[in-house]
């Protein structure tokens, strides 16, 4: 039974629930206790020790992140003993940390640097012993800088317990201790899916996205190049946050204006190809149902998920939809359909994506993704890199006027927008499949049962008398649960949506730092708000998509679609 206790923190008495930690009790009452290894949605690790406090009656200081409150506990967080110890711990970390703050990719938002500022570290008396280990630049998406690792273990925690990929973990002991892939291998040598959830939780610059902003600046500067950009659904609800506004701020119009200011020739919307995905994928599902194809069919929009299934469930690849992700459908169309329509040679078109994702950087380099005869998508920037470009360009984001996406690849419906949240692809598909199958108009567009942050969501949808069982998983740990059921034949689903990241793309590995449950919820609410305000909310009603079929693709799953919009997968194994 939950009860409350009185604890005294720095002389002030607070009444708090008895099942929380000292750190949490302090936080709820406006007292910040420094922390590095602690992260809100993770289990307690108590490694870094910068959260130590003085508790009356305890011989030593105690870690406030792992010590529960109890009745009458007397805590001091600012005594000389605590302050000196915290300063010493920070000094010890710094002595083994490269002094590259000026040039570090995390210099704007490094948690260690911030603590050094808050705790008045002015001098490092300890011997500098900065390591000189090689960087891991083996992948197209993620760079690991082991020199900057403070061994907090947040990345390993998310890699094991959320994603169950088990790539990063602590090796060796003592001074040789390191958090790396197995046997010191590089990320490209192991079954890393490049989801970037480790990046999202790293307090320092020890693991970060591969920065592609310089290449994008160069393309924008190159007069030979016609540079078009596409923006993923979820970025419209996270870029304002990256630029300092509250999580969940919707900024679709400002986003378009900002991209024009950076100098992009055309500003298009991945929501357009999200709608297109629904038509292809919806028809693929109906085709499988009619012809007795492999079921359940599983969505294929999330490149981290694709890499995960290729490594972990290679025997199940037939379950995957053959549809490319919206990003890659866009790239293929930009260098074929759009090139033809605008009279620009595809070789002169540079396609840039703004994505919530690190795995997208890898996806665009996959050998299958060259349907146009060129690499379909040239560069992928995360929401964070986009933010850095805007700051470099001196764009005062919050005061920008709104503007509209360019046509024709900028026209979209609410169904395309909700791709950004877990359950969104499923909901968008159901809106279309229902109307195609039944020939009736859907009365209520919202499929509440597939929304929200529940790890695995199941629903039975009535398609005018035909019950269809669907499932939605987000985060690879949840995906694994569903895959185990599919593998052993106990799943009776028809259609399954999987997103690699918790919350879907709104919680992607390329999103603003400090992404946690509350920020995910705020962004998710915002995505559904975007949908609600769209004049069109069903993918098959998108007039630009209809026109595209009429003028170019002819029909879903047709010859042209097969060539440009569908792909194949590789058995990778572990």
């Amino acid at each position: 039974m939950l009860k409350n206790v009185d604890v005294v923190i720095n002389g002030e008495t607070f009444n708090v629930p008895d099942n929380i930690t000292i750190m949490e009790a302090a936080r709820r009452n406006g007292i910040k206790i420094p922390s590095l290894c602690h992260f809100p949605d993770q289990r307690v690790k108590a490694n870094c020790r910068v959260c130590v406090v003085e508790v009356e009656g305890s011989r030593n200081l105690v870690a406030s992140c792992s010590t529960p409150v109890r009745e009458g506990m007397k805590v001091r967080t600012t005594s000389a003993r605590v302050r000196e110890t915290v300063q010493t711990i920070l000094e010890l970390i710094f002595a083994n940390h490269p002094q590259e703050c000026l040039t570090c990719i995390r210099n704007e938002n490094c948690e260690l640097r911030q603590l050094a500022a808050e705790h008045g570290i002015r001098e490092i008396k300890a011997d500098m012993s900065t390591p000189l280990l090689p960087l891991d630049t083996s992948t197209a998406a993620i760079v690991r800088d082991p020199n900057k690792c403070i061994k907090c273990g947040r990345c390993a925690e998310v890699c094991h317990h959320v994603q169950t990929t088990g790539i990063l973990y602590s090796h060796n002991r003592g001074l040789e201790g390191a958090i790396t892939p197995e046997y010191g291998k590089t990320l490209s040598e192991v079954a890393c899916v490049l989801c970037g959830q480790c990046v999202l939780v790293c307090p320092t610059g020890a693991i970060h996205e591969k920065d592609d902003t310089a290449q994008v600046w160069a393309a924008l500067e190159n007069p030979e190049k016609h540079v078009v950009v596409q923006v993923a659904p979820s970025v419209r609800v996270s870029i304002a946050e990256e630029m300092g506004q509250a999580p969940g701020t919707i900024a679709t119009g400002k986003l378009v204006t900002a991209l024009r200011r950076l100098g992009f020739d055309k500003v298009f919307d991945t929501d357009f190809t999200a709608d297109l995905t629904i038509l292809e994928e919806g028809n693929e599902l109906l085709h499988r149902l009619k012809t007795g194809g492999t079921l359940p069919m599983i969505t294929s929009c999330s490149p981290g998920w694709i890499k995960f299934i290729e490594h972990n469930y290679p025997e199940q690849l037939a379950n995957l939809s053959s549809c490319k992700s919206p990003q890659q459908m866009f790239g293929a169309l930009a260098k074929t359909f759009y090139a033809k329509q605008s009279g620009i040679d595809a070789k002169d078109i540079t396609v840039v994506s703004i994505m919530p994702c690190t795995a997208k950087k890898y996806e665009c380099t996959r050998p299958e993704m060259q349907s146009s005869g060129y690499q379909d998508v040239d560069y992928v920037l995360t929401t964070r890199e986009f933010g850095r470009m805007l700051r470099q360009a001196g764009v005062n984001f919050s005061v920008l006027a709104d503007s509209e996406f360019d046509n024709p690849l900028g026209m979209s419906t609410g169904a395309g927008a909700i791709f950004g949240a877990t359950g969104g692809v499923m909901e968008a598909a159901l809106r279309t499949v229902y109307e195609v199958v039944t020939g009736k108009e859907l009365q209520k567009l919202e499929f509440e049962s597939v929304r929200g942050l529940e790890g695995v969501k199941e629903a039975i949808v009535d398609l005018d008398g035909l019950p269809v069982k669907v499932a939605v998983a987000h985060g690879l740990g949840n995906a694994r649960k569903i895959m185990e059921k599919i593998k052993d034949g106990t799943a009776d689903y028809t259609f399954v949506e999987v997103m690699a990241c918790p919350g879907g793309c709104i919680g992607g590995g390329g999103q603003p730092y400090l992404t946690r449950k509350e920020t995910r919820m705020a962004r998710m609410d915002a995505i559904y708000e975007v949908d609600e305000h769209m004049p069109l909310r069903k993918s098959h009603e998108n007039p630009a998509v209809q026109q595209l079929y009429k003028d170019f693709l002819k029909e879903p799953l047709g010859e042209m679609s097969h060539h440009l919009l569908h792909t194949r997968y590789t058995k990778r194994g572990l």
Binding site: C48, R49, N60, S66, I93, E176
Partner: protein
């Protein structure tokens, strides 16, 4: 054997027989062995009370009251529960548990069986360090014999109560002697300590309530039950009843293992049991409590070995290792050796221990090379205090004990090596 007879045989908890062999099951039973187990099976409640009344404290180092821990275990409603005997005797200079396992294995097994019965654990493990192959063999054989005699395993002495005991071999890590790291090790995980609370007594092996006791603690139990709490309290002091096994080593005449009643002073241990200093050299320092213990000068040796008094004076009885150094020994060498030991054994999980030791060894190497400054010494003190105050587990907290105590008592030796000490400046004549 004369040195073992400082206290009368009747007043001894341990009877090691002869050094060469082990006390067989037959011999052990002939001298009253396994009578305690019979008593426990008849009246377990009284047995628990006897252990509590005897004031037995854990002999692994933390000195937690064993009866209290047992009672905490008994109040837990969970039915799946474990007993783990900590035989990962890794503290340098400590060899008491090895002696018990090699020479009186049945006294340990009886104590272990009794504790498991009282704790309601039908499954028990004994975690023996990898470096003790002889002890592992001895315990393995003794388990088989005890099982054959109906004293262990299913349906003990026809009572219907079962205790299944398994041996688990460590793999060489000192840290796995820390109770939660040991549990992780048994579970097949990396031997790193876990967050406390929850304590093992609430959530231990496989997340189930687990009673963890040291070899020496468990070996005390049959004697307490057989001879009674009053007899036991007649040994030692009010604060610390009973006796302690002391592993005496270093520059004393008679190195060895001694059973010493609590309350005996450290000087008496060295003089009366150890026979005083070897050869003609004088006593310089004594390291008490192993590598994680303190280094004290001769002036501190009149302190009685008693948990309360020692704690107040900053002396760690720990595992009961007493290492004696004569005037030829260098404190700095000794400290360097210890810091290197901890560097090797630190798991690297928490910042103070990992980074503090990294800095400590550099400073000590500078001191030994005659290149340190007085500033280095104050930094060393600061890092060591930080390790003590803020480390995750006992290893890091204790790693600085010998550093801090040596800085306190033998600071002169450090300062003599500092380039900017007053004496060195004077000798070089570069004072303005």
């Amino acid at each position: 054997m004369t040195t073992l007879q400082k206290i009368k045989d009747f007043d001894k908890v341990f009877n090691f027989g002869s050094y060469d062999g082990s006390v067989s099951l037959e011999e052990y039973r002939m001298t009253g062995g396994y009578e305690a187990l019979r008593k426990v099976l008849q009246d377990p409640q009284a047995a628990t009370e006897e252990i509590c009344a005897a004031g037995l404290r854990g002999r692994g180092g933390a000195a937690f009251p064993a009866g209290t821990k047992l009672k905490m275990m008994q109040t837990n409603v969970e039915t799946e529960r474990y007993l783990v005997c900590n035989a990962d005797e890794g503290e340098p200079g400590t060899f008491k548990d090895r002696f018990i396992m090699n020479h009186i294995p049945f006294q340990l097994l009886e104590g272990l069986t009794i504790a498991a019965i009282l704790a309601g654990s039908s499954n028990a493990y004994i975690y023996i360090r990898h470096e003790y192959p002889a002890a592992q063999a001895m315990i393995r054989q003794s388990i088989a014999e005890a099982q054959a005699a109906g004293l262990l395993g299913e349906n003990i002495l026809g009572s219907g109560v079962s205790v299944n005991l398994k041996i688990f071999s460590g793999a060489g890590s000192y840290l796995c002697g820390e109770e939660t790291a040991m549990l992780s090790s048994i579970e097949g995980k990396k031997g790193r300590p876990r967050v406390k609370p929850p304590f093992p007594i609430e959530s231990g092996l496989w997340g189930k309530p687990t009673l963890i006791n040291n070899v020496e603690t468990l070996a005390n139990i049959p004697v307490i039950i057989a001879k009674g709490a009053d007899w036991y309290k007649g040994l030692g002091t009010k604060d610390s009843p009973g006796t302690k096994l002391i592993s005496l080593s270093g520059d004393v005449r008679n190195r060895g293992l001694y059973e010493v009643p609590f309350g005996t002073t450290f000087r008496e241990i060295i003089e009366n049991y150890g026979g005083g200093m070897k050869e003609v050299y004088t006593l310089k320092a004594v390291n008490i409590g192993g590598a994680s213990g303190v280094v004290v000068p001769p002036e501190e040796l009149d302190c009685p070995m008693e948990y309360g008094v020692c704690a107040a004076r900053g002396i760690t009885i720990g595992s009961g290792a007493v290492y004696v150094m004569d005037e030829r020994r260098s404190i700095l060498d000794n400290v360097q050796n210890r810091v290197n030991f901890f560097l090797h054994e630190s798991c690297g999980k928490c910042t103070p221990c990992r980074e503090g030791l990294r800095q400590a060894i550099r400073i000590i190497e500078r001191v030994l090379a005659g290149q340190a400054t007085l500033k280095d010494l104050s930094n060393l003190e600061r890092y060591t205090k930080c390790m003590q105050e803020a480390s995750f587990c006992g290893l890091g907290q204790a790693a600085g004990n010998s550093l801090l105590s040596s800085l306190k008592y033998f600071r002169k030796e450090y300062e003599e090596s500092c380039v900017d000490s007053a004496q060195n400046i004077r000798e070089r004549g570069d004072m303005c």
